[in-house]
């Protein structure tokens, strides 16, 4: 896990992007995460996480369609890069290994 530096919140956002696939744009991500985490998130926190991960090469993006609801402004659809998939997989592996080696009283 060298040079990846994926924060906890960033990881959640990244996974949501993967889950949402073609629907992965700002508000939708926010909505999905809010319902899963059961808490309110600000546009700012989502956007800054997205921008940071794009900079680090976890995400790429392109403009999608506009809608009246958005005041004629286009969406930006995010997609996880192969690198991101690899990193996610790595993290999951590390975690499950750690879980496996934990004493049983914590596990239950």
């Amino acid at each position: 896990m060298k040079k990846t530096k994926l924060g906890e919140f960033e990881e959640l956002v990244l996974m949501t992007v993967v889950v949402l696939q073609a629907d992965a744009y700002g508000v939708e991500i926010k909505r999905e995460l809010e319902s899963r985490l059961n808490e309110t998130l600000s546009v700012g926190s989502i956007q800054s996480a997205l921008k940071r991960m794009e900079e680090k090469g976890f995400l790429k993006s392109e403009f999608g369609e506009a809608s009246q609801k958005r005041g004629g402004k286009r969406k930006r659809i995010y997609q996880a890069t192969p690198h991101a998939h690899k990193v996610l997989q790595e993290m999951k592996d590390v975690r499950s290994q750690l879980w496996a080696s934990m004493p049983s009283m914590v596990r239950s």
């Binding site: 700002g26 546009v43 700012g44 926190s45 800054s48 809608s67 609801k69 286009r74």
Partner: protein, 861 residues
């Protein structure tokens, strides 16, 4: 879909900080969230969430970069400019002080005038229905033009409301008067009037207690102001239902308490009674031929005023009123400023003073700005090196313009602070002169105005130096010393010409205004108004007038005593009748005559000059059908042998016994009209006494005692005739005092400018003067050399200013029927005064220059 918009300011904030490449996406996201929130929450809450979201977007990764080519601010440059400005102030203290004093006093004058104009514009503007509130005036077509009067038939309001559908509400109001009212042991004087039922619906005077539909419904109701309630009962609560005695004559029940009219109201009164009661006591008002009360109407929305006036043209005639009177509805809000009528049309009024002072304010500020412009450009040679270097290093023109503008804005800001302090200091005195209660309250509007003034003055004063100095060519400046071109010198001089022209116009105006005022005070008005004390007869005094007068004549210090119904000053008690008929009178024409009902001895008391015939006298019998006309009336009637002729007055044959020389019973604004005296002691209610000079106080206290003996329940409320007479010219008096001050300040500011220029120009020519002195020039010729330059400028200013000031002053004087002549010496005086001040101003500099030691100024070359 909901139409609610996202909040403007936070969207703008977003554009300000958000990186451009993210704008579309993030704004879209925000919009979508906003729309969703709208479905769930109120618009207000959705907007609140939006604002919060925008604030939360301020994160380093999303905001524009602070460094690099795109900068968020110019702090560095501003700091530099301020430092340079500050250094130049410190270095050239004289210029700085002249600018500071000039601009500060100019701004202070402008601010004072602004406060005054503002309060004038607000007079009577507080009525809620102001846009539909009209006063119905009466246009009397007489043989000498149409006279517009506020007095209308007493039944007009009711008839208008009844017969015309456009009239939503109509109300009658009588004149205000001072009466004695009492409750229990307390009795005091208060100002009251009688008004129609819907008074509080038509006017927006605030009712503290009582319902505006009910308070005037009972005939014997009385409403009092909160202040009067405090004076009379010591409290404002629970006074409704109490009984007030009026003039020791009748009891009235308090039905409500109103808040004392604000100072912005021209109507000031302490209590109100019903018009129904007035009608019962004054049956004459029911006759449509008699005019007296004022009439106000509220017209329904969308009524066309002109059409309405056309419709009511014959209204008074058709109700058997005076056939020559046409009612004229005029917007009540406009009457205060546009209350002067000529031939039935509004021709201005107080608005003229507002215009006058606005122009003066603008002039003074202009003079101060010119000083600033002149001194800054004059100092160009001092700063051209700085500009040259800056330009060489790469400053572009706009940044230099920015530098000079920010310098002048800084100057104006400092001056404005000083001006505010000045205003604060002189405001009490200013209030005293103007008779207003102005105060410096920092409302949002005033702050906006102040910022506007800073920008306007700063840009106006700084524009020329900024544009001129920034255009300097660096090579020229750095190579040679001189940068002031011919055209620039020319401009500077013409600005001084403008300054001095304005000053001269101000001087002429001040002389003319003051002369006219003096003229009105000194002119023989046809009677002697000095040491005349008068008061109203009330209660027992009114009932036993003759006995009282006899006793008054016995009071030591009283020279003469009589009674009258006419107070011989405008705004007091007057009377006008159209009921005079004589042989040969055109039956169609209508002539209004002022009539004075007097007692024996009044004509002698006021020293009216009888030219032919005699005065009223107890030596003759049946004086009650005798009359004394003034000369104008005799001329109007075309009587060659007036004495003994018979004239029909009000249906009664009356014999002329005397002719009195014309006298001014109105101001000099109006020409003396026809007037007459009749002897009617029973109709008089003003006691006039001539008292000996020097012991006024003792005489007054004796009169007080006598009055109290007759009338224990009344207090004596006396007035002096000469004071009332002067009050007629109060507004001119104010204009005179104010214009004196403002012109003085204007002149001082222009002299400051001249001083600055003179010192600069002697400095520039210091080498020339040195050489001249070496070659043998005398001190005097050097003084003459420099003075001559400025003399020329001032002479040109005089030539320009005199015709303009002639036009302005003769226009102002047109307002007066009796006025001073504009003689040449006024203009000569103003011119000489201007030249002398200019000489005096520059003399300090020139004498200093002439005494210079040539060795010193020629040493360094």
């Amino acid at each position: 879909m909901n139409n609610a918009k996202t909040p403007n300011w936070s969207r703008r904030l977003l554009y300000f900080f958000l990186r451009e490449e993210y704008r579309e996406e993030i704004e879209g996201d925000l919009n979508e969230t906003f729309e969703e929130n709208l479905e769930q929450y109120s618009v207000k809450k959705a907007r609140k969430i939006y604002n919060r979201e925008v604030i939360k977007l301020i994160r380093p990764i999303l905001t524009k970069k602070m460094s690099g080519t795109q900068k968020l601010n110019h702090y560095g440059m501003i700091q530099h400019n301020l430092r340079v400005a500050f250094r130049s102030y410190m270095r050239y203290k004289n210029t700085f002080l002249i600018n500071l004093v000039g601009l500060a006093s100019g701004l202070a004058c402008t601010l004072l005038i602004y406060l005054w104009v503002q309060s004038e514009l607000q007079v009577n503007q507080f009525h809620e229905n102001g846009d539909r509130l009209y006063q119905v005036l009466a246009n009397n077509s007489t043989s000498n033009g149409i006279r517009t009067d506020r007095a209308t038939p007493g039944g007009l309001a009711e008839a208008l409301a009844e017969e015309l559908p456009e009239v939503e509400l109509a109300v009658t109001e009588t004149w205000t008067n001072t009466y004695t009212i009492a409750h229990g042991e307390t009795n005091l004087k208060a100002v009251g009037q009688y008004v129609g039922k819907d008074y509080f619906k038509v006017f927006s005077y605030e009712l503290l207690q009582g319902d505006k539909d009910e308070v005037l419904s009972e005939q014997r109701n009385i409403l009092i102001s909160d202040k009067l309630a405090l004076r009379l009962f010591g409290t404002t609560s629970d006074v409704v239902g109490k009984i007030i005695n009026f003039q020791q004559f009748r009891d009235y029940q308090v039905s409500g308490v109103f808040k004392s009219p604000p100072s912005s109201s021209t109507h000031q009164f302490d209590f109100i009674m019903t018009y129904e009661e007035f009608k019962e006591l004054n049956s004459w008002v029911l006759n449509w031929k008699n005019n007296g009360p004022s009439t106000f109407v509220i017209l329904s929305e969308g009524t066309d005023l002109e059409a309405f006036n056309l419709k009511i043209k014959d209204f008074i005639r058709s109700h058997n009123g005076e056939p020559n009177i046409t009612p004229l509805a005029t917007r009540y809000n406009d009457l205060y400023l546009h209350g002067k009528f000529e031939n039935g049309i509004s021709v201005g009024g107080r608005i003229a003073n507002i215009r006058l002072f606005s122009v003066i304010a603008f002039f003074i500020l202009g003079i101060a700005c010119i000083n600033f412009m002149n001194l800054s450009t004059a100092r160009v040679s001092r700063r051209n090196k700085e500009i040259g270097v800056k330009k060489t290093v790469g400053a572009n023109r706009s940044s230099l313009i920015f530098q000079f503008l920010s310098e002048s804005l800084l100057m104006t800001t400092v001056s404005l602070v000083l001006a505010l302090i000045l205003v604060w200091l002189v405001l009490p005195e200013f209030n005293h002169i103007t008779g207003k209660q102005l105060s410096l309250v920092f409302s949002g509007e005033l702050i906006l105005i102040l910022i506007g003034t800073i920008l306007f003055t700063g840009l106006m004063a700084g524009s020329y130096p900024a544009l001129y100095l920034s255009a300097i060519r660096p090579i020229k400046v750095l190579k040679s010393q001189s940068a002031s071109s011919k055209s620039q010198l020319w401009l500077r001089k013409s600005l001084v010409v403008v300054q001095f022209s304005i000053s001269i116009i101000l001087i002429v105006s001040v002389i003319v205004i003051n002369n006219q005022i003096q003229f009105t005070q000194d002119k023989n008005i046809g009677f002697n108004k000095d040491n005349i004390l008068y008061f109203e007869a009330e209660g027992q005094v009114e009932l036993n007038m003759e006995t009282f007068l006899q006793e008054v004549r016995n009071v030591p210090g009283v020279l003469k005593a009589s009674s009258t119904a006419h107070s011989f000053v405008e705004g007091g008690y007057t009377g006008l009748t159209y009921n005079v008929k004589w042989d040969g009178k055109d039956p169609e024409s209508s002539v209004g005559m002022e009539y004075m009902r007097v007692n024996y001895e009044l004509i002698e008391l006021l020293d009216f000059e009888i030219t032919t015939g005699r005065s009223f006298s107890t030596d003759f019998k049946a004086e009650y059908n005798k009359v004394i006309f003034n000369e104008t009336a005799i001329k109007l009637m075309g009587l060659n042998e007036p004495i003994g002729a018979t004239i029909n007055i009000g249906g009664r044959d009356t014999q002329i016994v005397g002719v009195v020389k014309d006298f001014h019973y109105k101001t000099f604004r109006q020409e003396v009209g026809p007037a007459y005296f009749v002897l009617k002691p029973d109709d008089t209610w003003l006691i006039m006494t001539k008292i000996a000079q020097g012991e006024e106080q003792e005489t007054i206290s004796r009169l007080n005692d006598l009055y109290a003996k007759f009338n224990p329940d009344f207090s004596l409320d006396y007035k002096f005739l000469d004071q009332d007479y002067e009050a007629q010219y109060q507004s001119e008096q104010r204009v005179a005092t104010l214009s004196k001050y403002f012109s003085g300040i204007g002149i001082i500011i222009s002299c400051l400018g001249l001083l600055g220029l003179a010192s600069f120009s002697t400095e520039m020519r210091i080498k020339e003067i040195g050489i001249r002195k070496i070659l043998g020039s005398s001190r005097f010729s050097i003084v003459r050399l420099i003075t001559g330059e400025f003399t020329k400028i001032v002479l040109i200013a005089i030539v320009l200013a005199l015709p303009i000031s002639y036009l302005i002053t003769s226009n102002w004087l047109d307002d007066f029927a009796y006025r001073i002549e504009l003689s040449w010496w006024i203009f000569a005086l103003a011119g000489v005064f201007a030249i002398l001040t200019a000489w005096f101003t520059v003399s300090v500099q020139t004498i200093k220059a002439s005494m210079i030691n040539p060795a010193q100024c020629l040493r360094n070359e």
